[in-house]
Subunit: 408 residues, 2 copies
């Protein structure tokens, strides 16, 4: 069977005013991807008849399956069903059962049914009704003579999501050829473009799976996407490519399909039977905050401290205010000396001030330190960079320690 | 001047796969709305040359101003500049200054510059470069012979947002007829629907200004938007409405056009000549992290501590591990007793565990405490709720103290 092309059209002036974040588009995109259906264009139009019609007719030139959200409500500016039915050459007829269900909602809630709600029981001829257990606007599926399928769903995510999951996904499965599986290789301390350079032949040659590089929050990542008849077959296609990426990027790869760097560190700490404390000057306690939010972190976190500068940390640790002048040395000094007051055997110290940061990590008596200058960006960038560098140092030290134990 | 029509085109296969939520579209839509510019269509296309070109050519038929996000990176699948330049009939030329800025980024961070990054210094002939203080990919503006303007911005929101705010908004103002001024009244400890109820007549009657309620991150807010010939005239239209909202919501209004609750608290601390420390168990140090990131906070923050539970905080404060059993009492005890080790006169203690939280704040010897149960949501929700409650308690205590001083 030839592969069908899909488009998503989200209808709603509130989206064009920026009053509402379009989470429906992402939800549907992910659903289509999991079904192995191709999505090439996604459009937002307002509650305007002419512009909506133009968007529908354009989409019909490019795709066979059109998914709509929004514009199914009872008010005069809800026009999706009317416009799509016209483009598809279908009449709208009152559906007795749909009308009954809308009526029974009002009976149940002991409110009179506004006349305008009758509009919601209109169904395109030859169409299929999609039940809405979460609201009064039912969805529907309709077909054109030229082989198009349109799926109309309500706009509120609370109504759209269960309708898509329960009614639309099973319906769309007939068009799906196989599964699309995406896996994400997470990379640290290596820029996106340098990473892409190191993988360029894989990216150029990659057809199934395909490779795509990304950058986000001080990290790089590469997505490996395979298409196959089953999830297992798709997984098997990705395996050798992910092995090759790991081989080339080495320890810069901190995980595959993991949630975060801190989650990986929490796992290493648990495996090592160690707890970590963070002492932060200038980074606002961000490292401790991220660490304590990671899955499985509650058992591996000791007490952590933060203050605007390093001298603010010292008194609570029973350390004299006089610290080494060089920030990296001061970090190393604090990470070593704080062992007298903190029971954690892994202690990290971060200092961030403008475009400069330094960090030091002590793991069971061994201390490493690092200092870096950054380009002029902004506080979020500086703090994230400092925390990422500290996390990576801690990760590598824990890995070294575990490797050394294994070799013994 | 005739009103220009805008379109937004977001480029990125990650958006079509549903891997990334398209927050850029909302951010730009809101920005255009505030400029009083009309947005009728918003499109997403993948990193595919032919489909991107088709989307650009369609948009050129419908609108004069096209805003793009994404596809400006250094890798081979970043194609936006190439495609838009071709549709606009413009050549791409290396811009010496842009190249220099990208090079200096790599010099500063002591890394070799990958050749692919030179691509980022390509600028369409006759175009304007848009600086990117947050990354290496600059944006640009280009013009077609048929009167179109295209604005190309990077995809990561951290880079796109400051570029739009600082460079694009001032540029677009020339196309805007009149001014749309939005002011935001920030509200705490009052739900969005209850707030909307208290303002319902103002929202129903409001034409210029209009009122729109929102909820975000454990707060409610109401946006007041006026359209007028000048900023001053628009401001004058909003004044009586904002006065009325303040009157009705009282101390629930913590600020108008402020960045955050913590910024307001930093201001109150500075006005009071006091410093604050946070002791957090379970909330991951989020309160200290937010506070230390606020503008003007560095002078008003003392050292702060976080640990997974209250007993982990006590030893560093020279307090015996035996704390009152009731969490709210334990918080109050810690906030009072920690004065021996911490020099801050304002001390807040937060305990969060599952759907429960407690907090206590001590301001110069006076202590208040609070305990609350939450509906089942998730860790982010719980932590945010606990921190917001603690911040609001601190804010009210500081306000009371300043009021009392003024009355003397």
């Amino acid at each position: 069977m030839e592969r069908k092309r899909c488009e998503i059209i989200c209808v709603g002036t509130e989206l064009l005013l920026g009053d509402v974040l379009n989470t429906n588009a992402q939800y549907l995109a992910r659903g289509l991807s999991e079904l192995g259906l191709d999505l090439f264009v996604q459009t937002v139009v307002g509650d305007n008849e002419a512009r909506m019609e133009s968007a529908v007719r354009s989409a019909m030139e490019r795709a066979e399956i059109l998914l709509f959200t929004g514009g199914l409500g009872p008010t005069a500016d809800d026009l999706t069903k009317e416009v799509v039915a016209r483009c598809f050459g279908r009449k709208l007829l009152i559906d007795a059962q749909a009308l009954e269900e809308i009526r029974s909602f009002y009976t149940l809630t002991r409110r009179p049914m506004p006349i305008s709600n009758e509009k919601q029981a209109l169904l395109p001829e030859g169409g299929i009704i999609l039940k809405n257990p979460q609201g009064t606007a039912p969805g529907c599926v309709l077909f054109s003579d030229r082989g198009h399928t349109a799926v109309l769903m309500p706009g509120p995510p609370r109504e759209m999501r269960p309708m898509f999951d329960r009614e639309v996904v099973p319906f769309l499965r007939q068009f799906s050829s196989g599964t699309l599986l995406s896996r994400v290789v997470r990379v640290i301390s290596l820029g996106e473009s340098r990473m892409a350079e190191m993988l360029s032949d894989l990216m150029d040659e990659g057809v199934n799976p395909t490779l795509a590089p990304y950058a986000k929050d001080g990290e790089a990542m590469v997505r490996v996407t395979a298409r196959a008849d089953s999830r297992e077959a798709a997984l098997a296609l990705t395996e050798p490519v992910i092995r090759e990426i790991r081989q080339r990027l080495g320890r810069h790869v901190y995980g595959v399909d993991v949630n975060s760097l801190e989650e990986v560190i929490a796992g290493l700490l648990a495996e090592s039977g160690l707890k970590a404390s963070f002492l932060e000057a200038g980074s606002g306690g961000l490292a401790a905050c991220r660490m304590q939010a990671a899955d499985g972190a509650s058992g591996v976190c000791g007490a952590s401290l933060s203050a605007p500068d390093l001298s603010g940390l010292a008194p609570l640790l029973g350390i004299p205010r006089l610290l080494p002048e060089n920030p990296a040395d001061a970090c190393a000094f604090l990470s070593r000396e704080s062992g007298r007051q903190l029971d954690a055997l892994v202690r990290a110290v971060i200092w961030q001030n403008g475009t400069q940061y330094a960090c030091a990590v002590t793991v069971e008596g061994e201390t490493r330190q690092y200092v870096q200058s950054m380009p002029s960006r902004g506080l979020d960038y500086y703090r994230t960079a400092a925390v990422q560098a500290c996390f990576d140092m801690m990760r590598l030290m824990l890995l070294d320690r575990l490797d050394a134990k294994k070799q013994k």
